[in-house]
Symmetry: C3
Subunit: 356 residues, 3 copies
């Protein structure tokens, strides 16, 4: 186990499983005792800086709530007004800006993806440049490659819903961290139609984490919508290390059979960035041609009473049918809630050394 | 008396008078003891979400201050960046967004009126759709039909200023809730010129509440600037139930004679929305023709030492003469301050069950 | 010593040196004990309103952090959305807006300079108009003429770095207020190239304060980049009262010889505002002609082991060479940090009467 105070969280793959286990355990405890005395002042009167290069709903709301609940204050900073150097604009160097912020704040969250980067990986590079110049932890609030906080929330939700078959029907979710319930369970991450042209961060993070936690992972997508090869390689190794299968397929029907978790989501193609620009219109037009790629109630019937998961917002009717998204096996609101608890645990650990 | 925890406040008319009385009583107590120990942690470390589809000065400032003073944190959320479904744009469904927010926050304020709706009543419908999907209370921060928090602040200010004749001259305001001072007092709500093209929410809420609290209500406006017929009907019933007069007139001189409270304000005409759009330019041009509609010092002389009230911002010189707005009988700053205290009471009651 | 509760801080020159000394003393104590119990609740649950007519990085971050650390809440208010009367737009009068804010908040910071004013001095006038209508203190967060909080941070940083020669090399900075170390030390404020077209507020505030604290002050700039004559006059008087030299020169080489503090920065020319508009493009084009005006490592060698200071953001390569800005004698990050501590002291004194 490493020291977590000051540790950046850019991708869960860079953390040991032991350290992640500690985060999950704390997150479940915090969920059980949301306003417990022992958590209320972990970050008493400290600042958490949030850089939203891209806007967000859940990420903003959950990080700002997490900060309050730990006694901190989240500063909502709009980089566009800050004359900071970014992928797309000149301005104050990251070296200068980051070193000043390190004097004021105890943690810095950064969101940079989609149309705010000019090529896949640029957001990741920028986040790492901030990390280079700060002693405080840098936490990805979603970037072009990874979305560690979403990954943590996903795993928490799946543990809760798969803990004991059928429990979800009664609303009685698992109340403590025990990841054994995930071992050998089948996860299907399947591309779907959708007009949102999203980055791969959430699905890539989910694949990596699922592999590490012993799930059988299938990734399905049309040709041209491949994951980052490095992520594929790491996910395969993660699965193999746990003795699980890892499959990549271009068949929209594949993976549903016997699946326990179905993660149906749109993401951009490998050709999305051209000449330093996200070709959003072209991407949306192209995606809409794959009419057979959607998560239907009929397909869900072939699963093993599988749950539907999604990081939201959902493009209903395209990514998934309403009957599935609003159905009894949809864990989306619990996963969304887990953003809060997971992030509280991450902030407590990295910004205050609560687990050291 | 009903349970107030989780109760939405979209219009005061939907609350029992007993419940409103309890809010007024608490609001006056909170005003007397602004940082009293017993109020400081009513919403300790909780989130209040503020959705400002339309910007605001007093509403933002007073709700954010109210949140702090109760131990909560107000999140200033800009729906335009949130890809939410609104009257004017597609995006994430309210069903999805609201159910997630319900996991993070303990109350949600929504402001939607004027140019952010496409027809009168659309803001009201949208607020009620949020209310449908949340367990936490929805509080209108002003919408096209009603403005309950302004109404509460108005009544508080009028109670203070009318409590004992002449007391306002010494700055010694009433210090506890006693609405008997309003019974039989004459309220004139009069349309006025002005270039702001405001929604009817404030004046409609004031008319409804004044009737319930036993005031004699006169509404004066040029032809074409009628109130919502449902509001007229309810106000008439409110007045009749208290044995008071209710008058609607198109005479700009009417209602001043013997008035105790004069509320002079511009509002949009019944033709303001055309083809799904607020015709602001046309409205302003039309309003400026009614040069005889303004609250002058000369007219105020005909009142019974009447006070001038307005929810602000004031279009000075159009809605009212400076001599009146800045005169000794202007209660505008006390009413504005009451926004804070009234909202603290409402939030404490609906978000924490402080009065249950 | 005067009473500081409610006292505006628009320029340090308007405060007695005794009162400034008290601020510096408190600021150093607060820096030594950042989360000390006795400071944490000075502004418990109070509001500090921040009006950013112009955006900012450090000012926003440090004021918002200062508020949190004193138990207050900083409201980030965007005047552009508030329909307030400003130099460039009609709207609600300051008389009305200010008197309402006085009911909600305990302090108001205002930032207005550069392209948000139409002539030099207009920001100063607007701030003073707010001050006229409020009982709460108005704190300049930088305006066209002055930047008192930057001045306080500068002096703190110079005291720390000049306290004992060479101490900066070990990172062991002065830990209490003793301004004797500044007496007789040579300060060079030199104009430099740069594409930012900044207001004179920071350099003018620094010159005034340095004179009062006994420094020998040299101001160097090309013809046409003169300081405000009133500031020149006051700085000369400040220096003479302490028996120190005050020099104004148009020689880019001047002032480095034996200097202890070099403050190299771009600022706009006396012709920057034309016809009610900041001619930014023309200013930048003009400034770039003065290629000899930059702070080089070679020039710094002629100083007395002088430190480099700057309020940031730095236009590296234009205002100063990287070797200087990132060199061992650069105090920029400590000065930036001092914004936080200085502002905490100012807020505690003026908003809560902590020193009265």
């Amino acid at each position: 186990m490493g020291k977590l105070l000051g540790k950046d969280l850019i991708c869960t793959q860079e953390w040991s499983k032991e350290d992640l286990d500690r985060i999950f355990k704390l997150a479940f405890e915090m969920k059980q005792d949301r306003f417990g005395e022992k958590y209320l002042n972990i970050l008493y009167r400290k600042q958490f800086f949030m850089f939203f290069f891209n806007p967000s709903v859940r990420t903003r709301q959950s990080f700002e709530a997490a900060s309050t609940e730990l006694g901190a204050h989240a500063q909502f900073l709009e980089p566009k007004a800050m004359r900071l150097k970014t992928a797309k604009s000149a301005g104050e160097t990251i070296e200068d800006a980051a070193q000043v912020m390190d004097r004021y704040a105890y943690g810095l969250g950064i969101r940079m993806l989609e149309n705010k980067v000019t090529y896949y990986g640029e957001g990741d590079s920028l986040i790492r440049e901030y990390a280079k110049y700060t002693k405080m932890p840098i936490i990805s609030m979603a970037h072009d490659k990874f979305h560690p906080c979403q990954g943590v929330a996903d795993i928490m939700g799946w543990i809760e819903w798969l803990a004991e078959a059928g429990k979800q029907k009664t609303g009685s979710l698992a109340t403590e961290f025990d990841s054994d319930g995930l071992v050998g369970k089948k996860l299907l991450i399947t591309w779907s139609q959708g007009a949102l042209c999203r980055s791969l961060c959430s699905v890539q993070e989910a694949a990596l984490l699922a592999g590490r936690y012993g799930m059988d992972v299938t990734i399905a997508h049309p040709e041209g919508y491949e994951f980052d090869p490095d992520v594929i390689k790491a996910t395969r190794e993660n699965c193999e290390a746990r003795g699980q299968e890892f499959t990549v397929t271009q068949d929209p029907e594949a993976g549903y059979e016997g699946a326990h978790v179905v993660y149906s989501r749109n993401w951009m193609s490998s050709e999305a960035y051209q000449d330093g620009e996200l070709k959003k219109e072209e991407e949306i037009a192209k995606a809409q041609k794959y009419t057979d790629w959607t998560c239907t109630a009929a397909r869900m019937k072939r699963t093993d009473n599988g749950i539907f998961t999604h990081p939201m917002p959902i493009d209903r009717g395209a990514e998934v049918e309403d009957a599935v998204a609003s159905g009894p096996n949809s864990c989306i609101f619990d996963v969304a809630e887990n953003r809060l608890h997971g992030q509280k645990a991450i902030m407590a650990a990295t910004m205050a050394g609560f687990l050291d």
